[in-house]
């Protein structure tokens, strides 16, 4: 075990630490916050001090407390959206690859059509029409993201399904369920896990972007993207209030990417050893 731990590169350790830290904040954030999320504790844009580590926001609320509280919303929405998009994309992608024929054609063309429209525009239209609530936000992002997961899952499954071990299972008369869960999925996991990390980051940035446009998570809930938006005018006065939530977003993105890079490399190594 110690040998395995030693094999993990420093960059991955850094990434794992960042991710672990964020997870801690995600779970315990509101409890750790020294002040209430919406509690006004001073004048707008007060600079960092011993009491308020990251200063105050545009309404005089404690930035540090809001960051801790906002983690739940920001990370929660991204995680939920990514999980749902993978639960939709992977089965559909595998089915399209294994059935082929018209099933594949219909699914793939539907996905192509959705992908034709820029994601941001689709999301804006849906959110504008249905009104922005957290469930709508999660499902909109999940559906849009699932098209990309579908494409990856399909092409990976196609590659595996022509290999002789998958052919042997088909020739044995195995059901689609067995083929998907026992032959395809275990061998498709390394690229899919890597993709999960990437998609999570994109989703996170996307939620932040939507919040920035005012269509993401609605006030008074704190979320990191929204906090950047709400504090943007501070930049004009030479204050760095919006940099704190922006830095939190950047840090998590970098952390997840470092972990993903590591998983991707070790995943390939495992595959290489098997072949």
């Amino acid at each position: 075990m110690t040998g395995k731990l030693k094999a993990i590169p420093i960059s991955a350790w850094l990434g794992l630490t960042i991710v672990a830290l964020n997870l801690l904040v995600f779970v315990f954030g509101p409890m750790l916050a020294p002040y209430g999320m919406n509690e006004i504790v001073g004048a707008p844009f007060d600079p960092p001090s011993a009491n308020f580590w990251f200063g105050l926001d545009q309404n005089g609320r404690d930035m540090f407390s809001r960051l801790l509280a906002g983690a739940q919303m920001s990370i929660g929405v991204s995680l939920a959206a990514s999980l749902i998009s993978f639960s939709i994309g992977i089965p559909l992608g595998f089915v399209a690859a294994l059935f082929g024929g018209w099933v594949d054609t219909v699914l793939s063309r539907v996905v192509d059509t959705v992908m034709c429209i820029p994601v941001l525009i689709s999301a804006l239209v849906v959110l504008q029409a249905l009104g922005s609530s957290v469930p709508v936000l999660i499902f909109t992002i999940a559906l849009l993201d699932s098209t990309r997961v579908f494409r990856l899952a399909r092409v990976v499954a196609q590659g595996i399904s022509v290999l002789e071990y998958a052919e042997t299972a088909r020739l044995r008369g195995e059901s689609m369920g067995w083929l998907i869960t026992r032959e395809i999925l275990p061998n498709a996991l390394p690229p899919l896990i890597a993709e999960f990390g990437m998609r999570f980051c994109f989703t996170f940035l996307f939620v932040a972007g939507l919040s920035f446009l005012g269509l993401g998570i609605q006030p008074p809930f704190a979320d990191w993207g929204g906090m950047v938006k709400d504090n943007q005018q501070a930049i004009l006065y030479g204050l760095y209030a919006p940099l704190f939530p922006a830095a939190a977003i950047a840090l998590l993105t970098i952390g997840v990417n470092l972990v993903v890079d590591w998983l991707l490399n070790s995943g390939n190594a495992v595959q290489g050893a098997d072949r």
């Binding site: 002789e164 071990y165 088909r170 044995r172």
Partner: protein
């Protein structure tokens, strides 16, 4: 005269620190051909590349000296080594298709080296290219270079790669399995041309191969390798006729074994598989043209032919993987559906397939026990203890220890993987096993063991085999009857003994005489005979 290549105490290490080549000494005199022989993993290709100061895939040269015509590769810097590569020492790989850039004309790629190293100007390089193409007997040498790699055949591309390697008139040429990927009938041409080319320009060569009979035709000296170490070295005659080491003796015996041993199999029953008038197409190209044959219980039918002859396609048509467009496949008196998807579970069970590449035939995420146990559960509903017992029995039958059940395929060697594939087929208790080139990807000695296993299983269990192969040696030892295919058609079929005895069918004769034999004069004899025939 001094050596063109001198290697002393060469050590090459893999990224994990294991020594792939451990203390090899090697000398190459001008115009001499040294054959490097050994199974896969013996380190022969590693030596070939190390001779150019190169380590592949993170391998590093960790010790020893390499000296090419007075220049030390190890002491020189990167620029020194680059100046040598291509100019003084050149490399010919097994796969020509992977060695050529598909987007650049062949001729341009042949002259590239000479121009890059500044050995010749454009005019000289073109003239030299033409001479090489003529020497290598490529069709229309004046215009051959204008073609792209995909526009010429595999054998022609392999010859073009030799021309590419010769473009700077190197002192040494490293030939890494240059004919292994070719059909036997093409191999003989390339082999003959290679030999005359080397003699004509007095080029020294390291000839790397796993086939003793091939190296017997071309090498002056032979070095036998195993696990990165030298087993023995000597003149070709000495190694082939009076091998000193046991390992070499085994290699020689295995190769000679290919040439003898008829099959006696008395327990042949009624007709099990009947193929009648089968046609099949890939798109609009016919790949099977009116194929009829049958296979009886306990019998082995070999299907032989060159690549593209349709022998694997026939196997896939019988298995239902490639739907036929006309004709009929019957099994045990009942007509089989064209596609496996519409066949009954029981019909699927009775025909099992074993593939050429065991690496991709086993799911890397399932243990050996799961892989072998699955057909038992799927077809016979076996569970838990009875299943485990049956898995253990099968592992015993195929000659693997019982604790292999908990291993993943990644921890197995090629031969062990192929045994597991056979066990998986047996687990379904089939009547017919289709063996598609099952020994082609294995080292000779390992392949030998697999053949013995198949033979004993047949006697024990009364199995029928449809044996797809290009290796005539295998056919002669294993098959009761043989079917020869060429371009999707049956050339002839009959008892194996009759097929391989005069009078031959002309195509069969070409196949038979193209299989290299261990005799040193084999190539000359065959070439002389063919010349007579055409004259």
């Amino acid at each position: 005269m001094s050596n063109v290549l001198t290697i002393r105490g060469l050590k090459v290490a893999a990224p994990n620190g294991n020594l792939l080549v451990d203390g090899i000494d090697l000398d190459l005199a001008p115009g001499e051909v040294l054959g490097l022989i050994g199974e896969s993993g013996a380190g022969k290709s590693t030596i070939g590349l190390a001779a150019m100061g190169y380590g592949r895939g993170g391998c590093r040269i960790v010790g020893g000296t390499i000296d090419i015509g007075g220049t030390s590769l190890m002491e020189g810097n990167r620029a020194t080594r680059e100046k040598m590569r291509g100019a003084r020492i050149a490399y010919v790989a097994q796969s020509a298709a992977a060695a050529f850039n598909p987007a650049i004309r062949i001729g341009e790629q042949i002259v590239e080296g000479a121009l890059y190293h500044g050995k010749m100007n454009r005019q000289e390089a073109e003239a030299w290219k033409l001479e090489l193409l003529k020497t290598l007997q490529l069709p229309n040498p004046e215009t051959f270079g204008e073609r792209y790699p995909h526009q010429v055949s595999g054998g022609q591309l392999q010859r073009a790669m030799v021309a590419m390697a010769m473009s700077c008139r190197p002192d040494i040429i490293v030939l890494d399995e240059p004919t292994t990927a070719l059909d036997v009938t093409t191999q003989i041409e390339v082999l003959a041309l290679l030999r005359s080319l080397i003699q004509r320009y007095n080029t020294s060569a390291l000839y790397i191969t796993h086939d003793l009979a091939v190296v017997a035709q071309i090498a002056n000296r032979i070095m036998v390798m195993r696990h990165g170490k030298m087993v023995e070295e000597g003149t070709a005659e000495q190694v082939l006729e009076a091998p000193r080491e046991d390992y070499t003796r085994m290699l020689v015996a295995e190769r000679q074994g290919n040439l003898s041993g008829a099959v006696e199999n008395p327990e042949i029953g009624d007709v099990l598989l009947e193929v009648s008038g089968v046609h099949a197409y890939y798109g609009k190209t016919p790949v099977l043209d009116d194929i009829s044959c049958n296979l009886r219980r306990g019998e082995t039918l070999a299907v032989v032919g060159e690549s593209g002859s349709g022998k694997s396609t026939l196997a896939r048509a019988i298995a239902g993987l490639l739907p036929t467009s006309a004709g009929m496949v019957s099994f045990d008196g009942r007509r089989l559906e064209r596609s496996y998807k519409r066949r009954a579970k029981e019909e699927l069970r009775r025909i099992q397939l074993v593939y050429q590449l065991p690496d991709v035939a086993l799911n890397p995420r399932q243990t050996v026990g799961e892989i072998i146990g699955r057909p038992m559960k799927f077809y016979f509903g076996m569970h838990d203890v009875p299943k485990e017992k049956e898995v253990a029995r099968l592992l015993d039958l195929i000659g693997l220890p019982q604790d292999f059940a908990s291993r993943l395929p990644g921890a197995l060697s090629g031969g062990q993987k192929q045994r597991v594939c056979i066990a998986r087929a047996l687990a379904a208790k089939p009547d017919l096993i289709i063996c598609d080139e099952v020994t082609s990807a294995l080292d000779p000695l390992v392949a030998e063991d697999i053949l013995k296993l198949l033979k004993s299983l047949q006697q024990e269990l009364g199995l029928s085999y449809l044996f797809i192969t290009h290796d005539l040696g295998v056919v002669r030892r294993l098959a009761d009857r043989t079917l020869v295919m060429q371009r999707g058609k049956i050339v002839e079929q009959g008892a194996t003994a009759d097929i391989f005895q005069p009078p031959f069918h002309p195509y069969t004769e070409e196949l038979v005489t193209s299989v290299p034999e261990l005799r040193r004069d084999w190539l000359d004899t065959v070439l002389a005979k063919r010349q007579q025939a055409t004259a």
